[in-house]
Every structure is written in structure tokens, then in C-alpha cells.
């Protein structure tokens, strides 16, 4: 790697010294710009079409009160949550893929999503719960599953391979239980459960959004503070320890942050699949870095979910699809395209 590939801030000997990979930074900025432009588009689109000027006025609280209400109370929370939830999922995926050094890694590995689905299914099918009760049930289920996997995999420390195996085993049991619930339930509650299980931002309001957004933002900042340690941990426990990184503790901290990020996203929108898996992969290919690029993963995740939600709302309007269905489709198609492009580059 040539030195000019990096941007420097400060001097190596000085109090402030920051080295950022130039390509990663550029890609991150471009992604952020694209996400903001798409957000502007999403605020204007819908049954009530608004121009950019009208959206801007409404955001500032000027113009007709009716328009301001549409933009600020209905559309803004949805757009903000798409960015936050998508970013959180992208980042947590990056954490898990880095920790277990496996590109198939996602928060699913420790059983969180399956556990959350179990919690939601129990709340919907057995208890007929409301929105907040379902979110609570999902959180409890997810956290319990993640904790169980961690405890069962712990044996003088956590080893990536053992974590994967125990995660698979617990997920398989929970998934089997979920299947049993689904075929025992009435068709109506099974459909409700399946809708929740697909993941959706339909009908989100500030009340529902704020708690999870706050949790996500705090966890994101903490993750970014740990990003250097995460990169060192990728070199192996021994090298990391030699460089002064407490391996086991850092791993536990990172994993907890990953779980908090996924939990916040799931509580707000249900288990939106594929973003945690695809965003870090896409980010890594875009920024051409071998390590995991946390910020890039955030922006890819945010952009992906916003785009998917835009499609979910408008593709089959007036019918609204759950956004989770669109994320799997778009994410999958994009990954296929990346595979094609990569092989064209390799052969040319």
C-alpha cells in the first residue's frame, strides 16, 4: 500500500494523529451523499406529491401546517428510522463478520434474530399482544437466545468456531419451535406473525422510533471508538494481546454492542433480513479494503434500507409490502451483480 493512499491528520509524534484510508473515506462520503439525496426524494414522494422546495419548507416548519404535518410527523420518522435501522444492521453485521472471521457471519450466528422471532410469535400467537408488547417480547426472546448461546459457547474464553456451532444449534431449536407455532396457530395469527417476521417500517411514528434510535446511536459511537481494537483483533488473539488489546474483553464488548444494535433495529422494525449480511460485504468491496470498514458498512446499510423501503412503499402502490421482503430481493440481486462485476475485473 502506498503512503499516498492515506489521508493524514496531525503528525505521528504529535498529540493528534489520524490516518484514514483515502478510498474508504471517499466511498463513505459518496454513500452518505447518496443516502441524503434519496432521503429528500422519499420525503417528497407518496400519495401527496411534494416538490423539493415544499419539502424543505415543511422541514423548516414554514408553509402550510398540513404539509408540515405530513412531512415531519409521517414521512420523516420513517426515513430517519430507515437510515438508523439500516445503519445499525450494517454495523452489527460488520462486527460479527470481523469477530468470527467468516463472511457468512451475522447477528443470526448467535441466535438473536431467531430468538426475537420466537419472542414475537409467542406474544402474537399465544398472548395476542399489542405493538409495544410484541417489540418487548421480541427483545426478550432475542437477548435470551444470544445470552444462552454465549454462555453455552463459553469455555475458558470464546472461540469463533465453537460460537458458530452453538449458535447454529440453538437457532435450529428455536426455528423448529417457531415452525411448530406457525402450523399450530390459526391462519389469521400466523399471517400477522409472518408480516411481523418479514420486517416492516409501515406505520412507524416518533413515539415508536425514538427509544430504539437513541440506543442505536449510543451503540454506534461506542463501536466506532472500538474500531481500531477490532481491526487488531482480526490479526489473531496473540498479535492483538502483544499490541496491548485485551482480546477476550474486547470481544465481549464488541459482541454486546452488535447485539444492542440488532436489538434496537429489531424492536423498531422487526427482523429485517439480509442487510447485516450484505452491507459489510458490499462495503468491503466498494472500499477495496481487506479489513472491515465500519463507517462504510453503516452507510451501505442505511442506503440499502432506505432504497428498499422506498420500493416497498411505491412499487406496488397503493399496496405496501413489508420492507424486509424487498431488502432480501434487492440485496440478493446486488450481491449477484457484484459477483459478476468482480469476475469481469479479474478476467480483464
Amino acid at each position: 500500500m502506498r503512503p499516498s493512499d492515506y489521508l493524514y491528520l496531525g503528525r505521528p509524534t504529535g498529540p493528534v494523529y489520524l490516518r484514514v484510508r483515502a478510498q474508504g473515506l471517499w466511498v463513505g462520503m459518496l454513500l452518505a451523499l447518496a443516502a441524503l439525496m434519496l432521503a429528500g426524494l422519499a420525503l417528497g414522494a407518496g400519495a401527496l406529491e411534494l416538490s423539493h422546495a415544499q419539502v424543505w419548507q415543511a422541514l423548516l416548519g414554514e408553509g402550510p401546517a398540513r404539509l408540515a404535518a405530513v412531512v415531519r410527523e409521517w414521512r420523516l420518522p420513517r426515513v430517519v428510522m430507515a437510515l438508523v435501522v439500516g445503519g445499525a444492521l450494517g454495523m452489527s453485521g460488520a462486527i460479527f463478520q470481523s469477530l468470527i472471521r467468516n463472511p457468512l457471519g451475522s447477528p443470526d450466528v448467535i441466535g438473536f434474530n431467531t430468538g426475537a422471532y420466537t419472542g414475537a410469535l409467542v406474544t402474537i400467537i399465544l398472548l395476542q399482544g399489542s405493538y409495544f408488547e410484541i417489540a418487548t417480547g421480541a427483545l426478550a426472546g432475542g437477548l435470551a437466545a444470544a445470552l444462552l448461546v454465549y454462555l453455552l459457547a463459553y469455555r475458558r474464553g470464546i472461540q469463533g468456531f465453537r460460537l458458530i456451532i452453538v449458535g447454529i444449534a440453538i437457532s435450529a431449536m428455536l426455528a423448529a419451535f417457531n415452525t411448530w407455532l406457525m402450523i399450530s396457530a390459526s391462519l389469521e395469527s400466523a399471517m400477522t406473525a409472518a408480516l411481523w417476521g418479514a420486517g416492516s417500517l409501515n406505520g412507524i411514528t416518533w413515539d415508536k422510533a425514538l427509544p430504539s434510535a437513541l440506543f442505536s446511536l449510543v451503540a454506534m459511537v461506542l463501536t466506532l471508538l472500538l474500531s481500531r481494537r477490532m481491526a487488531l483483533l482480526e490479526m489473531g488473539d496473540d498479535s492483538a494481546s502483544a499490541l496491548g488489546v485485551p482480546a477476550e474483553r474486547t470481544r465481549l464488548q464488541l459482541m454486546s454492542l452488535g447485539v444492542v444494535l440488532t436489538a434496537a433495529a429489531t424492536a423498531a422494525a422487526g427482523p429485517i433480513s439480509f442487510i447485516a449480511l450484505a452491507a459489510p460485504q458490499i462495503a468491503q468491496r466498494l472500499s477495496r479494503s481487506h479489513g472491515t470498514a465500519l463507517l462504510c458498512a453503516f452507510w451501505v446499510g442505511a442506503l440499502l434500507l432506505l432504497l428498499a423501503d422506498y420500493c416497498a412503499q411505491h412499487l406496488f402502490a397503493p399496496r405496501q409490502l413489508p420492507v424486509g421482503i424487498v431488502t432480501v430481493s434487492i440485496g440478493g440481486l446486488y450481491l449477484v451483480w457484484l459477483l459478476f462485476r468482480q469476475s469481469r475485473l479479474a478476467s480483464s
Partner: protein, 342 residues
């Protein structure tokens, strides 16, 4: 061919003893599967219904219910286990299960199409749709994974499989969420069961399964050579591309046919090869032999437990997870795991 000893965990005599033990266990389970159920039937009556006059009133339970079920348990178990062993050997990834090449997603999508768009209701119709879907999807995954690369990268197949499965699942859910009737059909289809109640259906998929099993066993040695690295394998005279293509064909036949008839049954293909590797070492010939016997053991045992546990029967795909997962956790905690192949 090379005769270099491969590193193993158990001496050959012990490994052979394990295999014999598995075989005995399997034989016992076949007998239990024929006799146990909602109505226990004596062995003499079972023998009479299968080979004798078949005049006993319970004979119909045996020939229509338990024989197809047991036969399917044997075949589908071996098929799921072997396809898992192949995919894990090919990708060298412990997370890889046979479904990763898109077989399950393709079969589910085709069943959704059949139920939601074409209004199919018969078991034979689902079987045809599911098998076609599985075949077409794996072919697509293989083409995407192998497109334009000089070297074969197993990880590309896995990513292509994940990507295409995701697209299929997305399409399938959007159809089912907008069509409650199809949703209802598919939710039962996707809880896999061995209870097919039709010997003709089992015999219809049996050739595909048997062919797949033979190909899988023939692949053991080439996969060993490939495991030493592509360059070394080429210099020893093997043809990696041919091996890959054959392996994908075997997985499609095995996993596609068993999913088509029984619905998706997870976990067998993931877990049994892991256990076989811990017991037998890294030689694929031993892993395959062990998997061939152990996977039907898990499937038949789960099916029998599901019959006896609750009056209405628990489906086998649900029981396999609850029988297999604790064993897997126990082994993962006990064994000095080799992360080397991870």
C-alpha cells in the same frame, strides 16, 4: 493414486467398529419405525404384511403408512447427510449446509408458485414443482458462482447461493403475504415431514436419490485430493472443475429430491457431517461412510420420537432440531475442536 496416510483422530480399527455400531443402530431403528406408532404392531405381523400373505387387518397400516415412511427416512436421511458432507468439503466452511446452494429456497419458491399461481393441490404436483425449482435454482447458482473465473473459489458459490436464495425467498414471501390461501398451503409444506402415505411417491424419487448417493460416494476420493489445495490437486492429475460440477450435481439430486418429497428438513445435513468429521478425521471416505449411516439414524429416531411424543404427531423437521442440537452443543463443548477446517 496417492496412498499417503491422512491425519485421523481414531485408529482404523476403532473407526470400523464405530461404523458397525451405527449400522446396528440403524437396523434396530428400521424395525422400531415399522412397529411403533399410534398403534403398536407386533413384529410377526410386520413381517407377514411385508413378505407374507398380508391378510392381517393391520397390514394396510404397514404397507401404506409405515413402509413408505421408513423407506423415505432411510433415503432422505442418507441424501441430506451426504449432500451436507459434500458441501462442507467443497466450501471448507462449517456454516455451509446443503440449503446454501439455493436448493431449499428454489423448492419453496416453486411450491409457492404452484400453490399461489397455478392452484396445485396434489402431493405429486408439489413434488414435480419442488424438484424442478430445486434443479433450476442450483443450476443458476452454479452458473453465477462459476462465471468468468479462472480459478474456482468455493466462497463465490456460497455467496451466489446466499444471494439467489434471498431473492427467491423475497419473491416467495411477497406472493404468500398477499395470498392467504397459498400462505396456508406453504406453511404446512415448509414444516418437513416423512409421513407421505404413498409408496409410489417414494419410488418416484428413489432413483434420483440412489444415483445421488452413488455419485457422492464416488466423490469421496477426488474431494480428498482437492482438499490438499487446487494446485496440488491439478498436479496430481485431478480436474477441479469436473469435481466441482459433479459435486453440485450430486447435491442437487440428493437435496433437491428429498426436499421435493418431504419438504425442507434442516439440521441433518449440517450436523451429521460435523460429527462424522470429529469421529473419523479428515478422510472424506470415512466421513461419507459414517454420514451415510448416521444421518438416517438421526432422521428415523426423530421421526419415531415425533410419533410417540404427542397424540397428533410432531413433524420430523421439528424433532430433528431438538434431538440433534443438544448433541451438537455437547460435542462442541467437549471436543478439542479443530478450527483448522473452519
Amino acid at each position: 493414486m496417492h496412498k499417503a496416510p491422512l491425519p485421523t483422530t481414531l485408529p482404523a480399527a476403532n473407526r470400523l467398529a464405530w461404523l458397525v455400531l451405527c449400522l446396528g443402530l440403524l437396523a434396530v431403528l428400521v424395525l422400531l419405525s415399522l412397529t411403533l406408532g399410534a398403534k403398536p404392531i407386533a413384529l410377526a405381523v410386520v413381517a407377514d404384511s411385508l413378505f407374507g400373505s398380508g391378510l392381517h387387518p393391520d397390514a394396510i397400516i404397514i404397507t401404506q403408512g409405515r413402509l413408505p415412511r421408513t423407506l423415505l427416512g432411510l433415503l432422505a436421511g442418507a441424501a441430506l447427510g451426504l449432500s451436507g458432507a459434500i458441501i462442507q468439503a467443497l466450501t471448507r466452511n462449517p456454516l455451509a449446509d446443503p440449503g446454501i446452494l439455493g436448493v431449499n429456497a428454489g423448492a419453496s419458491f416453486a411450491v409457492v408458485l404452484g400453490a399461489g399461481v397455478f392452484g396445485i393441490t396434489s402431493a405429486a404436483g408439489y413434488l414435480a414443482f419442488a424438484f424442478t425449482g430445486a434443479l433450476a435454482t442450483t443450476l443458476l447458482v452454479y452458473l453465477v458462482g462459476a462465471y468468468g473465473t479462472a480459478r474456482l473459489e468455493p466462497m463465490r458459490f456460497v455467496l451466489a447461493g446466499v444471494a439467489i436464495s434471498a431473492v427467491m425467498m423475497g419473491f416467495a414471501s411477497s406472493i404468500t403475504l398477499l395470498n392467504p390461501w397459498a400462505f396456508d398451503r406453504v406453511r404446512f409444506w415448509s414444516a418437513g415431514s416423512l409421513d407421505v402415505r404413498d409408496l409410489a411417491l417414494v419410488l418416484q424419487v428413489a432413483p434420483a436419490l440412489l444415483l445421488g448417493i452413488v455419485i457422492a460416494l464416488l466423490l469421496a476420493r477426488p474431494l480428498n485430493v482437492l482438499g490438499m489445495g487446487e494446485d496440488l490437486a491439478v498436479s496430481l492429475g485431478s480436474r477441479p472443475r469436473l469435481i466441482h460440477a459433479t459435486a453440485v450435481l450430486a447435491i442437487t439430486l440428493l437435496c433437491g429430491a428429498s426436499t421435493a418429497i418431504a419438504g425442507p428438513i434442516g439440521f441433518v445435513g449440517l450436523m451429521i457431517p460435523h460429527i462424522a468429521r470429529w469421529m473419523m478425521g479428515t478422510d472424506q471416505r470415512w466421513i461419507m461412510a459414517c454420514t451415510l449411516l448416521l444421518a438416517p439414524v438421526l432422521l428415523l429416531a426423530s421421526d419415531i420420537i415425533g410419533r410417540l411424543l404427542v397424540p397428533g404427531e410432531l413433524r420430523v423437521s421439528i424433532v430433528t432440531a431438538f434431538v440433534g442440537a443438544p448433541v451438537l452443543i455437547w460435542l462442541a463443548r467437549r471436543a478439542q475442536l479443530s478450527g483448522g477446517r473452519a
